[in-house]
């Protein structure tokens, strides 16, 4: 059982092969920050961005600067501690590496986008000093703090508390906050702006998708093994939490778009967030609640096969090579 308190290190027989597969798949997606190129963005920031768009970017950078570190923090202190499956812990090891890559990506972004050292340190302090970013951080802390003293999941009450944390980070932090921020990035890309940030986002978004999928799979296993935890109270609390997450993200939106950016409005963002929230609810096994449509047609670019001109841009659609030791050179395989 995945929430057992006795440390489980057994991989044979494998109890959760689905998590092992997630680990293996995610390894094929390894990338590094050497593949990022912010040089064109730099020109855009200097010459092309309107002050309104520049404000939006500053807020996004301030959010990105600390967000992945927060996720990593929770991953180690909560997920790793309590999800007692050695297969899932392997995946978490890779996820932690992903989070560090994202942290490094956004460090590069801060260094490239904010030349002034004072602005740089302000960005890293945003989770305390900029109210709209602080709201998001506080939301995370609220669900992290509640289980700070949680050493052993020996009662149902504690298990529920942990489950709430798991749902919060999968459905709200990675599943809504990040989805919201990525939409701004793709909105700007659609206007031909900041291709470096958009390319970086392609990598990060793909990783985040995997993280959400894995967390949802873990929640699915908990639901199978401990169906009694999924009572009406949990459903109500989850719905309230998602409502709150949308509200917090909308406060961020009002600030980020406070100067008005043509082509995107808080109303559209709200529809989009509700649309994402409905998808998270379905993933959690609950019915949809908001029933809005995705108002951002440009997001379709994320949903289709990508074909990159090699000479112009770095290809992001590929998988990592494989070990030669296991596979033989043969001449009669189908291809």
């Amino acid at each position: 059982m995945i929430l057992n308190t006795e440390l489980n290190l057994t991989l044979r027989p494998m109890q959760y092969p689905q998590f092992f597969k997630l680990y293996k798949d995610s390894i094929k997606n390894i990338w590094t920050t050497d593949e990022l190129d912010f040089s064109i963005d730099f020109e855009h920031l200097r010459d092309k961005l309107s002050p309104k768009e520049a404000h939006l970017i500053k807020r996004l950078v301030a959010f990105f600067a600390t967000a992945d570190n927060l996720v990593a923090h929770n991953l180690v202190l909560n997920f790793y501690k309590h999800l007692n499956s050695p297969e899932y812990r392997m995946f978490l090891g890779k996820q932690l590496f992903d989070e560090m890559l994202h942290v490094e990506t956004y460090l590069l972004l801060v260094d490239n986008y904010l030349p002034d050292p004072v602005e740089r340190s302000e960005a890293f302090d945003a989770y305390r000093s900029i109210p709209s970013v602080k709201l998001k951080a506080d939301f995370c802390f609220k669900y992290m703090d509640s289980i700070n003293e949680l050493d052993k999941l020996d009662t149902d009450e504690k298990k529920k508390q942990f489950l709430q944390n798991l749902i919060c980070f999968a459905a709200c932090v990675e599943g809504l906050f990040f989805f919201g921020s990525f939409a701004y990035v793709y909105f700007l890309r659609n206007k031909g702006l900041l291709p470096g940030l958009a390319a970086a986002t392609n990598w990060v978004f793909r990783d985040e998708t995997m993280h959400i999928e894995a967390a949802m799979a873990a929640i699915g296993v908990i639901r199978e093994e401990y169906p009694h935890l999924f009572d009406e109270a949990l459903k109500k609390r989850t719905e309230a939490m998602i409502d709150e997450a949308i509200e917090v993200e909308m406060a961020f939106c009002s600030d980020a778009l406070s100067l008005g950016v043509s082509g995107i409005s808080p109303t559209m963002m709200k529809d989009y967030l509700m649309y994402c929230a409905d998808n998270r609810l379905v993933q959690l096994g609950y019915p949809k609640k908001y029933l809005t449509k995705n108002p951002f047609p440009f997001m379709v670019l994320q949903d289709v096969q990508s074909l990159t001109n090699f000479f112009e841009k770095r290809v992001t659609e590929y998988q990592k090579g494989f070990s030669a030791t296991k596979q033989a050179v043969v001449f009669d395989e189908a291809f």
Partner: protein, 276 residues
């Protein structure tokens, strides 16, 4: 450029014998007339300086050379022996005439498919320096419209299926065969097509190969086969990402628990989604 467009327009399946025949005919016609014209210019203005030392002066074009070297020759439609003689007599203005380019950028400007390749997907995004652009297979949409099958649901379904229509039951099988993506065509087809085309290409061709999930076994088999077919060289190998970004423009498929399914089917046997 645009070989795939020609096949779509003519209703040819990429790996059919008709498609291969057409591909050979196009290449043969282009090479034949390139040589003929170059020879006519040479007659007036003189041959390229090293003509005397070239194989053309000895009575060989690429076609005659290929006859000796290639395991499989295409069917010939022009009088190549006569042309070789004319060239021997009149000379040739250009020492090299034919290369098949990757055409990544111009194909996207013109709005056709790249080079000699099958389509990469029925819905795809081209990433360039100037931005990212959505490309939709307009031939497929027209065919679906003609059949009354084109709708927002169909669009979402194709996106959900990563741009493939192979598992969409509503679409007739012959349409599905016609609009396969490069991931769904055997790479042997591309290699075989390139091999017979080589008889009409005196420089080289940009032959990209595609494996969704490459392995050492598949790669070694594929490249050995290409070498045995007499391919001079191949170009890029494209593969696909192991995991994908979450789709935000199509809806999450709803899953039903066992109890829900049972309960629902008892109550509404006619309309229950879970039981459909």
């Amino acid at each position: 450029m645009g070989l795939q467009d020609a096949f779509f327009k003519m209703g040819y399946v990429f790996d059919s014998p008709e498609a291969k025949r057409l591909s050979d005919q196009i290449s043969e016609t282009v090479y034949y007339h390139a040589l003929k014209t170059s020879s006519q210019i040479a007659k007036k203005q003189g041959a390229f300086p090293a003509f005397k030392d070239s194989r053309y002066a000895a009575g060989f074009t690429q076609v005659q050379l290929a006859q000796d070297l290639q395991p499989e020759m295409p069917k010939l439609n022009f009088d190549w022996a006569a042309l070789a003689k004319d060239i021997q007599r009149d000379g040739l203005r250009n020492s090299l005439l034919i290369a098949i380019a990757p055409t990544a950028t111009i194909a996207s400007i013109v709005g056709s498919y790249e080079s000699i390749e099958p389509q990469i997907s029925n819905f795809f995004k081209r990433e360039t320096l100037s931005g990212e652009f959505l490309n939709i297979n307009r031939y497929l949409i027209q065919d679906l419209k003609d059949l009354g099958l084109w709708s927002p649901t169909m669009r979402a379904q194709i996106i959900e299926q990563e741009g493939s229509i192979q598992n969409i039951e509503a679409i007739p099988l012959e349409i599905r065969a016609k609009y396969r993506t490069v991931w769904e065509v055997s790479q042997k087809t591309l290699i075989d097509m390139a091999a017979t085309r080589s008889a009409f290409v005196d420089q080289s061709q940009s032959l990209n190969l595609f494996l969704e999930d490459p392995s050492i076994g598949k790669l070694s088999s594929m490249y050995m086969y290409a070498w045995k077919q007499g391919i001079k060289t191949t170009y890029y190998l494209r593969s696909r990402a192991k995991t994908k970004i979450k789709k935000t423009t199509v809806e999450e498929p709803k899953s039903y628990s066992a109890e829900e399914a049972v309960a629902c089917s008892l109550e509404n046997p006619e309309t229950c989604e879970a039981c459909q």
